[in-house]
């Protein structure tokens, strides 16, 4: 049973998760340094690759940089750790306690994740001026911002469902560290945010189009950078919604089975 009935305790859980991220402040300050560095180096590499040309295959260098910058920033929001939370609870046996609580297990995990995301959101928002200052990001215009926001939200849901599915594997495998880490590592690449899909070889691009990851990364960034506009906007939204339906059903089925599979470790 999917328990997404509203529950007031969710807010408490979300708040605790958000606060736990502020413990290591040094880490956060370092985030600014690290982002500045990443943006700077990324630009250097692509400018060198463009080698003085203004545009390649119809993609202007400016568009390319904006795409990569927004992809990097939104990547911090879409860096979803729910698979890790689920695995941790299952592996340690804490899942037993979670299941006794008067709200669904997946609801609890989702609430924690959303809490983390809100904390990350304030963090990402604080990084935007830096990106604008470095000239990597174009100030948003409202006609792009609106579809971008919607697409980003859908991307978040796609990501949440994908990683929930990965996390649920731990009910069968217990130890999914390696698989999860591998997917997590590959995900920026699979999402087409490291090298945009338009610069990928045809075969690879086709494969990636059939995976959910690009719906959780590439599509919103492509909208923001202005590569998709007007009527063509229908397509990315259709793809994202289709993934939400498919993955939502998959989570439902898998969770139904996982509940019968629970092994509670130790006593």
């Amino acid at each position: 049973m999917i328990a997404l009935r509203p529950n007031p305790a969710w807010f408490g859980m979300a708040r605790i998760a958000a606060r736990s991220l502020t413990i290591y402040r040094f880490q956060h300050l370092w985030g600014f340094v690290s982002l500045g560095l990443q943006l700077f180096l990324m630009r250097a590499v692509w400018e060198a690759a463009y080698g003085g040309r203004d545009s390649i295959d119809g993609v202007a260098i400016r568009t390319q940089i904006v795409f990569l910058t927004i992809a990097l920033l939104q990547g911090r929001l879409l860096n979803i750790q729910i698979a890790w939370s689920i695995q941790g609870q299952v592996e340690s046996g804490k899942v037993a306690i979670d299941l006794i609580r008067p709200m669904g297990f997946l609801g609890q995990m989702t609430a924690r994740e959303v809490g983390r995301t809100f904390r990350n959101l304030t963090y990402v928002l604080s990084l935007i001026p830096l990106a604008l200052l470095l000239g990597s990001l174009r100030p948003p215009d409202p006609f792009t911002m609106l579809p971008y926001g919607a697409s980003l939200l859908l991307a978040y849901v796609v990501g949440l469902l994908t990683w929930t599915l990965v996390g649920l594997m731990s009910f069968w495998l217990l130890q999914i560290n390696a698989i999860r880490a591998m997917l997590q590592m590959l995900s920026t690449f699979l999402a087409g945010t490291l090298v945009p899909l338009w610069f990928m070889p045809d075969a690879l691009r086709t494969v990636l189009t059939f995976l959910p990851f690009q719906a959780a990364g590439f599509l919103p960034a492509a909208i923001y950078s202005g590569q998709v506009h007007g009527l063509a906007l229908v397509q990315p939204f259709a793809v994202q919604l289709a993934w939400i339906v498919i993955l939502g059903l998959a989570v439902r089925v898998v969770w139904g089975r996982a509940q019968r599979k629970i092994v509670v470790q130790g006593g």
Binding site: W30, V45, Y50, G51, N177, A178, V195
Partner: protein, 266 residues
């Protein structure tokens, strides 16, 4: 001698420990291969479209990447447990190393063996072989020796970049951010000719954070491209020594910082 025997026994035990879970072992090795190849795939994709970066061909960049990966693999084989330092300090586990009759640093080194390291080494050897094959180096005895020394130096730099900032963990408890950035820098950018960067940053990455010595400068020496470097030829040929020197400096810094350890008290 007895110390060495003990160390060897400890290393064997930790390797055996990590081999207990077969499936996870294979997955972790695969993880190592993929993690390290990802940056290279990026280069393949970009150069597939654009043929060269700042006058360096794909083959030449592959050589640079191979040097950096082999150095990294060698480092990881010996020193990867230094990544656990945050955990040891946070949990007070460092106590256990302090009460034993061997230097704590050595005990830390043999405490844990990350199996993914085999993947790192594998990826390194393959990419380096491909690079050597493709780059068309004119081999002289000096260059053969230099390649060996370069990999050692590159490993020394990688170790220094991990151990030095990692030692800050004794004071700050969490160094993941700093280490993550440096790892990002070395894994993503050490293989590029740094001439793609503006002069101030190029100097920064040559003389302050000497990323340039990991692969670009020694690679240029192997390919006979010294004239484009921002350093004189003697320094370029001496680049393996930069790695060794910095490694020793990092060890000294580690010892100094370790005095700031306050046990976790439990």
């Amino acid at each position: 001698m007895a110390t060495l025997v003990t160390c060897w026994a400890l290393v064997r035990a930790s390797v055996r420990g990590s081999m207990q879970y077969r499936a996870n072992f294979i997955a972790e090795v695969l993880f190592g291969v993929i993690y390290n190849s990802l940056g290279f795939v990026f280069i393949l994709l970009v150069l597939g479209q654009f043929t060269s970066i700042d006058g360096w061909t794909l083959g030449e960049i592959t050589l640079l990447y191979g040097i950096r990966l082999c150095g990294h693999g060698l480092w990881a084989l010996c020193f990867s447990s230094s990544m656990m330092l945050d955990y040891y300090v946070q949990e007070g586990e460092w106590d256990r190393f302090l009460v034993r009759p061997m230097p704590a640093f050595v005990l830390m080194m043999v405490s844990y063996f990350r199996v993914a390291v085999f993947g790192d080494v594998l990826a390194g050897v393959v990419v380096l072989a491909a690079g050597i094959h493709q780059a068309g180096i004119v081999w002289t005895p000096a260059r053969v020796l230099f390649l060996g020394a370069t990999i050692l130096g590159s490993a020394g730099l990688d170790a220094a970049f991990a151990i030095g900032p990692g030692a800050l963990g004794f004071r700050f408890l969490n160094t993941e951010g700093v280490r993550g950035t440096i790892d990002y820098l070395t894994s993503q950018f050490a293989a590029y000719p740094l001439t793609i960067l503006g002069r101030p940053v190029r100097y920064l990455l040559t003389f302050v954070i000497p990323l340039a010595f990991v692969a670009w400068i020694p690679g240029a020496v192997l390919l006979g491209k010294e004239e484009a470097l921002p350093v004189p030829a003697w320094l370029a040929w001496g680049s393996p020594l930069v790695g060794v020197g910095l490694f020793l400096a990092a060890l000294w810094f580690f010892r100094r910082e370790s005095r700031h350890y306050q046990s976790a008290g439990s």
